[in-house]
């Protein structure tokens, strides 16, 4: 079994215009569907933005958002758990850099008991390779079950 099948985390990207109330429209839709947001990041350009979410139920979130007229794209990420201390993030980035893997973007949040969880997006064709490299460097990959309910 590939690492990707075991460790890929589903992320939803939602296209949003830079207008008042658009972000709320998303969060309200998710609230009404009883979807819990586990991690998020927002990317913005001058005129539009992209909201990136890891949620407890990606299938349900995607179908609800699509039905409400949002443009949603589902993509695979991976997540790692590191010690919440200086140098941890750097160690992960270094491993990917040494393997010549480009990071599209990353975001992070503080987990339980001095741990931090980092999520990374790399090109799909590099995903498997990235996971192997990290495993070989002793970095702990987080199973998607950690996010999903």
């Amino acid at each position: 079994m590939s690492l990707r099948n075991a460790y890929a985390v589903k992320q939803l990207s939602i296209f949003l215009e830079n207008r008042k109330g658009r972000l709320f429209a998303v969060t309200d839709t998710l609230k009404n569907a009883n979807v819990n947001i586990r991690a998020l990041a927002m990317a913005e350009s001058a005129e539009f933005g992209i909201l990136r979410l890891v949620v407890d139920n990606p299938e349900k979130a995607k179908s609800t958002l699509s039905a409400n007229g949002f443009t949603v794209k589902e993509q695979d990420l991976f997540a790692v758990e590191v010690e919440d201390e200086p140098g941890s993030f750097s160690r992960v980035v270094e491993a990917l850099s040494n393997a010549d893997i480009n990071i599209d973007y990353t975001y992070a949040f503080v987990g339980n008991s001095h741990k931090a969880v980092l999520v990374f997006r790399v090109a799909d064709e590099h995903l498997e390779k990235a996971m192997i490299e990290l495993k070989n460097n002793g970095i702990i990959l987080v199973e998607p079950g950690f996010f999903y309910s």
Partner: protein, 461 residues
């Protein structure tokens, strides 16, 4: 002989340049056909129509077929009042016969070809014989005579030169009346202003939006418009202008505003032009106007509003019977205070179809759609939004982002946006700003079928 136009000071507000050694010619020069009595004019028109109908019947299969179908023989038409029995010609007819299907003569006799933008990549073509160029020069001269333009005048022509008939049409007209023409074309605002000042331009010809833009730029550049420039009149066309915009332009430059109307299918600019009384006189000895009910095709009486159609009475290469302009207007046969007896038409308020004019360039929604569909994967759900930004028209195309175009990244969308903008410029010659919007936006705001949101103020006449 050098003319000078002291009379201009009455209408333009800026003082004329007086050279006392030049004698002052007759005021308000009038081309002979501009003030004929109606009877004489109708006799000229009737004679020309008779010849025209015979010529197109025998030389253009398209017209022979149409007339045969309607049961009209060329010999049935002997008076201008019988023009209503003749078939109409539409823009689609011109496209169907692209490029040279309606010509009455071989390419040996053609000396100029112009073309205007089409809706689906297929443009319309107009060709001119030497005689046709003579007619065009004559009517453009008659246009410029509305402000007594002549020797000694410097005509600064900011219409675009090229396939568009505006630039070369005004250029030829200025030469015809013996003025010095500066073929500066569009763009290069700062250099335009410098040349206008240094050369001492007295007449400007261009689109209203660009000439207003020049005034705003002149202020920004620190010019004192009344002191630094010697303009006394301007000729404006190729896009609709509200009464308010006309007044603004006349006031800011201190010039007389002369509207010029035309279509390349008929001749280019020079079908009609505004006199100093503000009436838009049709050169009806060449271009015979009728107002029709746009739905039934029935000719409407004088004064009633409807679609204006033109018949080219004298054109040789591409004569056209009753061309459906889609422009809404009305006619007024009362002789004018300016001395002209030729009919005048109401300024065009709008189009019967959905063509947009953006900074003088024709834009059809279908052209925009064509560009969108060319870009892979894009569902063309879009709205064209036009508004004024300062003096210039600003065009935005709002395009929905859907699952197929959205890969989840910002960069790809930025690339898509840039690609669409450069395709718009390449294909349509317009600077359109692409705005990516959420799918339901367009339905919510205006319903799917509506493709145009024109926010420009057209407060009418």
């Amino acid at each position: 002989m050098v003319e000078h136009r002291v009379v201009a000071s009455e209408v333009v507000g800026s003082s004329p340049i007086v050279h006392p050694i030049f004698f002052i010619p007759e005021r308000n020069y009038m081309f002979p056909n501009d003030n004929l009595n109606r009877e004489k004019l109708e006799s000229i028109q009737s004679q020309r129509l008779k010849e025209l109908v015979r010529r197109v019947y025998h030389l253009v299969p398209f017209y022979k077929e149409k007339m045969d179908k309607m049961g009209i023989k060329p010999t049935d038409i002997n008076h201008i009042s019988q023009i209503k029995y003749l078939p109409f010609t539409t823009k689609q007819d011109l496209r169907d016969n692209y490029p040279f299907g309606l010509l009455t003569c071989s390419m040996d006799n053609i000396i100029r070809i112009h073309s205007s933008s089409g809706t689906t990549g297929k443009p319309t073509v107009v060709a001119y014989t030497k005689e046709d160029m003579g007619i065009w020069r004559e009517v453009m001269g008659r246009v410029l005579k509305m402000a007594d333009v002549g020797p000694g005048d410097i005509v600064h022509n900011v219409y675009g030169y090229g396939l568009f008939t505006g630039g070369l049409g005004f250029h030829d007209g200025a030469e015809e009346v013996g003025a010095a023409v500066v073929p500066s074309s569009g763009g290069f605002t700062k250099r335009q202003l410098l040349l206008m000042k240094d050369f001492g331009a007295t007449i400007i010809t261009g689109t209203p939006s660009f000439v207003l833009h020049l005034a705003e730029a002149a202020k920004d550049e620190g010019y004192d418009i009344q002191k630094d420039f010697r303009l006394r009149a301007g000729f404006f066309g190729a896009e609709p202008a509200s009464a308010g915009l006309k007044k603004t332009i006349a006031d800011v430059w201190g010039i007389g505003y002369h509207e010029v109307y035309g279509l390349s299918e008929i001749i280019g600019p020079g079908v009609s032009a505004g006199c100093r009384e503000g009436r838009l006189h049709v050169f009806e000895d060449h271009f015979y106007p009728e107002i029709i009910n746009t739905d039934t095709g029935e000719v409407l009486p004088e004064g009633e509003e409807g679609e204006i159609v033109f018949t080219t009475l004298t054109k040789q290469a591409l004569p056209i019977l009753r061309y459906r302009t889609k422009d809404i207007s009305s006619l007024n046969y009362l002789p004018c205070k300016c001395g002209r007896t030729i009919v005048s038409m109401e300024s065009v308020k709008g189009r019967a179809d959905d063509m947009l004019i953006v900074n003088g360039v024709n834009v059809f929604p279908s052209q925009v759609e064509h560009v969108l569909t060319k870009v892979e994967g894009l569902t063309p759900n879009y709205v064209i939004v036009v508004e004024k930004k300062g003096a210039l028209d600003k065009l935005e195309v709002w395009v929905e982002v859907d699952e197929r175009t959205f890969e989840g990244g910002i960069g790809a969308l930025e690339v898509l946006k840039q690609k669409l903008e450069s395709e718009m410029l390449n294909d349509l010659y317009i600077n359109a700003k692409i705005k990516l919007v959420e799918p339901k936006t367009l339905e919510r705001s205006m319903g799917k079928a509506k493709r145009i949101l024109d926010k420009r103020e057209m407060e009418g006449k």
